[in-house]
Symmetry: C2
């Protein structure tokens, strides 16, 4: 199933532009789950069961699985298999290499883990994208402007983010979208003007300080086709770490979903 | 053991500035090895046994292991354990994320895989380095100027590579070195002038077209302390794919080692 078909189906059927980030840090999950063979998998399974009809996409952060060794990668694979087949899965891995190396990353992420989309670090230029673009059913999100403080070191200096936006536009908005950090109020509207049709993956609301009103109103492409996925991870999945944590997960997901919809 | 102690010991004891790249692509290894349970591990073991006294470092490219699933990661771990403890191991993963995500990558690469050094993508700025720099015994190589064609898209535009070089200098040459692609003859000497003391990891000779004479003469910091590791991967490990491939591996490694030493 094409990424875009999944995206259309999940966002429309669930009326949701929420991307739920499964940054499932074993040190932060509710302690009652630690008795299980694979606590990260138990945690994710319960969250997916409770949210699968409420989100437009899931984003899984590769680091939190890799750091847990083979059990972590097993949890990643099982979570991917457990997510309904029509909900797009983004692997947040910020991959950025070239030629045969990139072919092997594609093999790992698309053929072994079977995700629908990757986040990509564009520093090395178009060569990073070329091997990935041969997978016609997949989609990429290039880092354009990030939510962290030291984005000023390079991305916000000499308009590098504008250069990257232009490159992403050339690759085509049907194939490559953009990661746009919510903590850049000045640039949000500007980047949308540069990239009128691109799908934006927007991290950085909540814990990192991005204001949801500013973010939504400045980044939606149109009322009919907003072309945004607003990501929240820790603010939802670690809101409550009691054995009843799922209640808070559902409540926070629903609140974000409704608030985004009201602002669109 | 500190990265720098390993580096000093391996480069001096072996009189070698060769970084042997184990880009152990299962589709390219000699076919007689495919009968083994873990062909990549068998391939690497034989190469390490034959070259461990001839190299200054090993570089393992994460993609080629990850693409082979759990067996690939097992081969990576076994290879790391098999390399003599005084020879530095660089994991080529071009990682680049921030805050807690980076903490988890550090946990995966330093504590689980136990490598001595990582390649780092600096696009997101200093925040990428901060969590890694808490590991005092480790070392990082930041991408400064790469060997691929589309390095002109961003790295060679508006002097981004100079900006990155300046940032790496500020982080300190004892903690962070630079990846400098051999295919940039014009910039090699310039980058060394910007970074007089940095350790350079130099890919791109051979298959990618970098000229060894130009590379060595333009990048050595000094005769006494050249501060270079010249990487070769496919040109050595896939030179011959007959059952006697190890003879070619040894011959190519030795030829590269001697040629570099003559040019220093």
């Amino acid at each position: 199933m094409l990424f875009w078909d999944k995206y259309d189906q999940a966002t429309k059927l669930h009326k949701s532009h929420v991307c739920l980030g499964l940054d499932s840090d074993i040190e932060m999950i509710p302690s009652h789950l630690l008795k299980h063979d694979n606590p990260i998998w138990e945690f994710n399974k319960e969250i997916v069961d409770a949210t699968k009809n409420r989100v437009g996409a899931y984003k899984l952060n590769f680091a939190f699985y890799l750091s847990n060794g083979p059990a972590g990668l097993d949890a990643l694979l099982r979570t991917i298999n457990h997510i309904p087949s029509y909900v797009p899965i983004i692997l947040d891995v910020k991959v950025g290499d070239i030629s045969n190396t990139m072919v092997h990353y594609a093999k790992a992420f698309y053929e072994y883990f079977k995700v629908d989309s990757l986040t990509v670090n564009p520093l090395m230029g178009e060569d990073v994208f070329t091997p990935l673009l041969t997978y016609k059913d997949k989609f990429l999100f290039a880092l354009v402007i990030t939510s962290n403080r030291s984005a000023t070191d390079f991305l916000k200096k000499n308009d590098l983010y504008v250069e990257i936006a232009n490159k992403v536009n050339k690759l085509g908005h049907k194939k490559v979208g953009a990661v746009i950090g919510a903590t850049n109020p000045k640039e949000l509207k500007e980047v949308r003007n540069f990239m009128p049709e691109a799908l934006f993956l927007i991290p950085g609301i909540g814990a990192q300080g991005g204001n949801l009103f500013d973010v939504v109103t400045n980044t939606i492409a149109s009322k009919k086709n907003p072309a945004i996925l607003i990501n929240s991870s820790r603010g939802i999945i670690f809101k409550d770490n009691s054995p009843n944590y799922i209640e808070a997960v559902v409540q926070e997901t629903e609140e974000l979903r409704r608030t985004i919809n009201q602002l669109i």
